[in-house]
Symmetry: C2
Subunit: 337 residues, 2 copies
Amino acid sequence: MKTLICVALATATLSAASLVETAKEAGLKPIPSSKVELMKLIDNPKNHITDEKVELGKKLYFDPRLSKSGLISCNTCHNLAEGGDDGVGAAIGHKWTANPHHLNSPTVYNAVFFDAQFWDGRDPDLEAQAQGPMQAAPEMSATKEHVQTVVTSMPPYVAEFKKAYGKDVKITFEKIADTIGLFERTLVTPSVFDDYLNGDDKAMTSAQKEGLKTFIDKGCASCHNGIALGQSMNAFNITGTYKYQNVGDFKGDANGMVKVSTLRNVTQTAPYFHNGKIWSLKEAIVEMGRIQLGSKITDKEAASIEEFLKALDGRKTDIIVPQLPVSTDKTPKPDLN
Amino acid sequence: MKTLICVALATATLSAASLVETAKEAGLKPIPSSKVELMKLIDNPKNHITDEKVELGKKLYFDPRLSKSGLISCNTCHNLAEGGDDGVGAAIGHKWTANPHHLNSPTVYNAVFFDAQFWDGRDPDLEAQAQGPMQAAPEMSATKEHVQTVVTSMPPYVAEFKKAYGKDVKITFEKIADTIGLFERTLVTPSVFDDYLNGDDKAMTSAQKEGLKTFIDKGCASCHNGIALGQSMNAFNITGTYKYQNVGDFKGDANGMVKVSTLRNVTQTAPYFHNGKIWSLKEAIVEMGRIQLGSKITDKEAASIEEFLKALDGRKTDIIVPQLPVSTDKTPKPDLN
């Protein structure tokens, strides 16, 4: 009896130590606890992060006047109060238009950790991504000229651009998108999972650790890995037999693939999948096993994995609602049509 | 020559001292500098302000899931980043529907200082007001049951209500609206005008003081008075000859009158008037002279009054974007139709 207990204890100790190793071997990576290391990861080498640029980018992110109607901002679909997305199946934009591909708005939190953006991965970074929704007809529906005119029509914006980039700055559409992207790079939410991988063994509960083991054992980490616990591409074949499919004429990337979503804050980002067709996280876990791994995930296993996923709920930095500059007579009027 | 200068100086000193008196005689009142005095003014005697209630009210104010679509929150039309309104002529709500009366969203900042709410003054306070837009079909389009179910479906909301009101609290639609109203009561923005009336003679610039004098001389303060620099009712006759009129079948109150808007933060709340038909503040000033006072306000006078109005741009308290509770399987799904 004594021997048995000793063996059990030894195994438990071994797993506690080796689970971190197993997780790392499976490709899971923490958000670095060192601010310097983190900054290296999230910074844009072509446009370094500064407080001035981030504050300006935040204002632009929250400014609905960048849209044709004056009513839709980046934050409308990527709501920082709601896990960084909008909680509806398909994004709703200008004139209450649903995304024609029935694509779901992904969270902006931790999106910096992907090296490709959009469901088909067509853009390399957040700066390039930010140009898309502003111009898309069923989203913010603006022209480049509209966005530029809005921003340059307000002296406080011009002054902030000069402060951020120097007095000779050209306030182009691209510069505006770059500044929004830079703000988005800072939306990083470390969690107890990171604390655990960074060496604090007590950061995760036993149930969360058990869930991590199940997550790895079932093969989830083969796609959900890296810091994002997601991958830029290499996801499921969109043209396959996916029963919830409803993506209009969206075809995924050249190989018919869509991006693997991040699992960070996943408890907050229902509905799930590129088409936003599943509302229950447990159901999403089981579906992914069936479709991606060709393996049955039992209810018990799904519950265990879900426990682990709760460890990915991140700590969000306080964001103060910005006070936007006041429109002038040069600011384009809202166009609701 | 010496005598003339002395007289001029004496007059200047006299006006500096007496302008405050003149303003007070004209019915203008400052936001009290004493926090105790201010609290007496903004508190709800039937539901006292506490930090817990205000924090909860803020979450509810920012929560789009209270709407039928899951996309429209109080903050959508009363955007705290944009002077407390939406910057469009007529409010746009559920399914991109414009307010059928072509009524403009008023600012929520300092709305506590009115003793009647809505353009026709039909509700006595912010708590009663908050019930309207949640249920209005062209606004948030929700039923009372929807709102109650959304809130009670999320354990963190239930816990916060218990913390705020005691464990036996009944989370009714009315209680939810009361809590939103209580948050709105705190949205008070004192400005240099208040500092000036409260005794700091240097708080306003000479041009602003000159503008205040013009404002009073032209009769603006006969309607724009009190702390709000507006009145609950007694405004212009909506059925009159107002050239910009376009208010559907909206008839104002029983006397065909609409509320006098607050002038606090008025530089931030274009377009102007109940029908949101004038974009230029200077034009709005001239129009009000013509229609309300039957008097021509010259360009120079309008410019002077506008200078004074800038002194009403208030200091806003920092508001941190709330992190909303996560939906559960009991939370109603968004209904976009």
